[in-house]
Subunit: 490 residues, 2 copies
Amino acid sequence: MASPITPRSTDFSAWYNDLVAHADLAEHSPVRGCMVVRPYGWAVWEAIRDYFDARIKATGHVNASFPLFIPQSFLAKEADHIEGFAKECAVVTHYRLKTDPKHGVIVDPEAALEEPLIVRPTSETIIWHSFQQWIRSYRDLPLLINQWANVVRWEMRTRPFLRTTEFFWQEGHTAHASAEEADAEARTMLEEYRVLAEDIMAVPVIPGVKSPSERFAGATQTYTIEGLMQDGKALQMGTSHNLGQNFGRAFDVTYTDANGELQTPYATSWGVSTRLMGALIMVHSDDQGLRLPPRIAPVQLVVVPIITEKTASRLPEIHAIVEGLQQELPHLRVKIDDDMQQRPGYKFAEWELRGVPLRMAVGPRDLDESAVELTRRDTGEKLQVPVAELATRIPQLLEEIQQTLYAQAREYRDAMTRTADTWEEFQRVITEERGFVLAHWDGTAETEDAIKKATKATIRCIPFAGDAAPGVCVYSGQPSQRRVLFAQAY
Amino acid sequence: MASPITPRSTDFSAWYNDLVAHADLAEHSPVRGCMVVRPYGWAVWEAIRDYFDARIKATGHVNASFPLFIPQSFLAKEADHIEGFAKECAVVTHYRLKTDPKHGVIVDPEAALEEPLIVRPTSETIIWHSFQQWIRSYRDLPLLINQWANVVRWEMRTRPFLRTTEFFWQEGHTAHASAEEADAEARTMLEEYRVLAEDIMAVPVIPGVKSPSERFAGATQTYTIEGLMQDGKALQMGTSHNLGQNFGRAFDVTYTDANGELQTPYATSWGVSTRLMGALIMVHSDDQGLRLPPRIAPVQLVVVPIITEKTASRLPEIHAIVEGLQQELPHLRVKIDDDMQQRPGYKFAEWELRGVPLRMAVGPRDLDESAVELTRRDTGEKLQVPVAELATRIPQLLEEIQQTLYAQAREYRDAMTRTADTWEEFQRVITEERGFVLAHWDGTAETEDAIKKATKATIRCIPFAGDAAPGVCVYSGQPSQRRVLFAQAY
């Protein structure tokens, strides 16, 4: 059977699009740049969301909900912020349609809004307007709020999950009494993102600080986690911002401190989005399809009965094995694919495409021998396992698969992380091999820009860890404080 | 201490608004008709949502996500649908702002969309556009999809939760091979809504069928559950629609049946929204504040230590009791309010206002006697309970409170449900006493309209149950098939 998936080596971008379409993750919609997230894709996102929502709450934050629309004047209150978002926003200007004898349905020109509304590209402004009411005394701080929301940025070139006009995310917004506390919060949430990426999604990431030119519009410091995709390009997977007093000042937020004096609070914001789905696909998948980490796989074990019409009477025995297993492992996410109209080979390919970590095949002979065949999606390895051992072996195997996916991704990432000490070497590695390049940078925006123009590589971050020795800028020859992380990026 | 809440008897509407504001449920936003849902309010909504999401999945549906925006031409494809929604929709006409030397930031006139986009008021059209791709064969049916989403309807008069420009809901959208199956689906989901209202929210409802003039725009049949608020007005709490083949036809959806013939599928849609929060408030609350049913209360038990600075050393003993309790009852949602800067009396009032079902007060003498004082929010009853019995008594009490809230609401509703057999009686009851009135109706839209004009009462539903004997229309004297349910409504 010919695979519907373009091989990675032929065309990485076509491979990605094929996976998104054929693994039932998402599809294009008739609205430019907006995607339809299909049930299987949404189930993966729900698994990520449920894990992280629990972490948000465990770290002392509470969820709330702020309006979808932002008055145009709000967006304009913080100068960098409007600069960053004005060029890519959906604007609501009218509140009614009407029927027109000539053109059918038209926008009713008499229903123009006095002030246009922006569909939120991010919610700092509308949330800090509320914070102005909520924060009166030092006893109201820290204020630790999160919302799960859809946001809209009018992107010109879109790709499913990676860059879409509408996307889904959580946005944390917090207020603190001191600059230090705000910075600690921003770093705490970045660390939560690192754990989400590495321990849950099995995607190794490099955490660090953005250079000033890559900061969020309105931030004094932006922290990031950066992953490396299988085509050697980097993906920014989550950012956390120390916003200083910019939004507090823009929205006139003050509180009375313990000494009775008026102060302006310090802010953070932080978000991860459906973009994470893109990382999941591009880091783990192969030419057969997705490979989902067990911790977020909507189906962890798929059971394929090897049954014909002649042996259909034995199907109840297979169901009995699965029911027994489900009783011993109530949290295991199992699916039995007992559609008699499809052949096992087709089903195997289908569930490989969808990245289910473990497959169990059971036929009459297996039933006679009280054993089943398990196949690992990560390695393709097949194991004969006695039915009596399933409840212990399956959780072990799922854990092994989780670790193997991480180890494989880590091995690739490490092999593709190089140092470059001359401009020639830097150019060659970035353009011929891609990957992460650790190189010295003189700290100026001019050099950063020149490197970007020459190689399309940007500074992904100044890593928290790694070689911090000073040196000489790979481009300008000027002194450099430490190596920073370069890559071409999505 | 003066209550911040206007008494129900003084001004029901002010009472409602006070509760919404002071119990930290929601507040007005600077965007006309949009609300900010505050953390406590959002936690209640999350409890409702989590319960119902599990039911949606248990009944075989899967979640997905469709775009926020709907092309104007889509909305126009189904004639009744555009008629129903054109007058109240937010229209995106531009995709960029720009800075203008004179006016600051303005909408960029050069960034007009070719076709305006409507912020979804409901998603039938955009979803049936996808269904056109998804449904090819009878084997693709039934297709059972749900999404949790924000929707926008440009309402002129808004009230928090009851009628807001942006609101939150789930919308189920399904496709079926037969009219009977679609109708059964619509009724199954209405029954789920009844259980949600009655068993989870403790709000008694009357399920039934809408009269043709009250149907959803584009439906062939609309089912509803109707609750009665404490001011005698009805609230439509959830609706489920049999859409027939209207959307299948409008979006050219066909499939090949088992005989190889082309067919058009039958549709349903069904939704409950944050409007349910309004019912929760208006059915159960009193002049002291909310009274939340334990099954959806974000905090089921609040512990207030009766401790002064002198006795602060005993606080760890109180924490130990709560930790022990939490170990025995891991699902119990407990909060300890050990803020030493507020007095117990203030805290009691605060948690009553927020409707926490059970309060535990513990002071040094209680510790000496190994007993605590529990206070029920529903009845105000105080009980001395030995610490050793807490783990058995608390779940019993929570269950009793759940039942009592339902019984009280049911008693009110039943007392306020009357029959009227003459037009004078009908008018008197509806205008002087309000409540539900079961009366005969001749089945015509003219009579329905005349009754509405005279009394503001509408037909809430033709109940599934109850007196189905024929009679004579209370207004026109014409023959009536059965009594229907009238009320003034939100």
